[in-house]
Symmetry: C2
Subunit: 211 residues, 2 copies
DNA sequence: CCTAAATACGGGAAAATCCCCGTTGCGCAC
DNA sequence: GTGCGCAACGGGGATTTTCCCGTATTTAGG
């Protein structure tokens, strides 16, 4: 009996290619691919549920973290394997916190993907040395110790607007707050993300998949 | 007789997955995958040459443009199909200018990849409507009309340093020029890339794969 | 010799950003 | 009633960025 797998990746060609590779593993069958969190929701409404979802972390619509959180809340039996281009520890910690059972890089070998799927199927999780080390490094960060997310919704709103060519008074106007409030958001976000300039914020936000 | 294909993509898993998908096409055989321009050079020294190279545009080491230019100069019989996450017209024009015979997005369907490979094999190129439209849009840009690259080496150096948290006097120090010279670089680069702020520069540089 | 391109540098000032330090009002829990 | 957290806002000013306008030297081509 093959294990049902679904893939969520906004690059359709890459999702189909990955499906092809996984079908070669024999014990797994890719039952559908979705290009967004929304499409995943639609697929889950109709089709048979997958046992494992391979989830691209950086998505244009709903982020990988949001999708993982949605799955944990609505389909707790579905196990998530996160797949990412980058290995920043913050994102890894967030994905695990949202319920991902493993985290792989797109630069890994197919055998590592296979092993991850096998582990998730048999043990329920795949905790590679790399993943564990990232979490250990996060132990010294206050953000991980806290249960609430690092950034609240207004800070995320600010970040999204800051990653544009708008000046701060224009951002304040769009957020319907005083320019002074935006100054406050900036300081808080700079501190939380460990940056000290707006271009640094843009780069860090892209690195963490916040935009 | 199968057409020999090679894949250049720094994400090994995705390259292997793509290889698997292409092998399903029957008329094509993936003879090797390379994770960088340098590894591609090594592979070409030893193995049989591929007829077609599928080349990821945004690479960490040598860029897709550089690799395409290298292939055109050293292996003019090898045809390049560019593969990218993004569809900005500047990058498309540059890839075609460097000799790419087609340009696909990673969000396309496998059937489009198949058609592109078929066209390149039989006709020598695959000019999709989307690609042609991008080039037409570029006709009104002065950069395309010019034969030399949009950005010279010093401007690229500046951009790389500007995509950091250094302030401009620190950048001037690193480039061994006057801060006023850096002011000049900034204005030129802002104009050439069509941005008006440093964070805009960071985003555009990332979009165009300049860093 | 003239012209153009490449590379470097400068004056001046307005606008924007960043930094450090505060206050206020509301909702909620004890 | 009190204290805390959250969200919003403010004073003040130093620093940096951006914009607009210039000049100078060297090299190469016609």
């Amino acid at each position: 009996m093959k294990t049902a797998v679904a893939i969520v990746d906004d690059h359709y060609l890459m999702a189909q290619a990955l499906a092809e590779l996984i079908r070669r593993f024999n014990e797994y069958d890719v039952i559908f691919c979705a290009q967004s969190g929304r499409e995943l929701q639609l697929q889950l409404d109709g089709k048979a549920k997958p046992e494992i979802v391979i989830l691209d972390v950086h998505m244009a619509d709903m982020s990988g973290q949001d999708i993982a959180g949605y799955l944990r809340q609505n389909y707790p039996d579905i196990k998530v394997l996160a797949l990412s281009m980058m290995d920043d520890e913050q994102t890894i910690a967030q994905m695990i916190q949202q319920g991902a059972r493993g985290y792989l890089l797109k630069g890994c070998r197919p055998s590592e993907l296979r092993l991850a799927l096998d582990d998730i199927r048999t043990k329920g999780y795949h905790y590679s040395d790399f993943l564990t080390k990232s979490l250990i490094n996060q132990l010294n960060q206050p953000a991980l110790a806290e249960t609430k997310p690092l950034l609240n919704q207004r800070e995320r709103d600010f970040i999204r607007l800051a990653c544009s060519e708008l000046i701060y008074v224009e951002i304040a106007d769009k957020m319907c707050v005083s320019p002074r409030t935006v100054d406050g958001y900036r300081e808080t976000v700079f501190e939380k993300l460990g940056v000290k300039s707006r271009q640094g914020l843009v780069m860090e936000a892209m690195r963490r998949g916040l935009i």
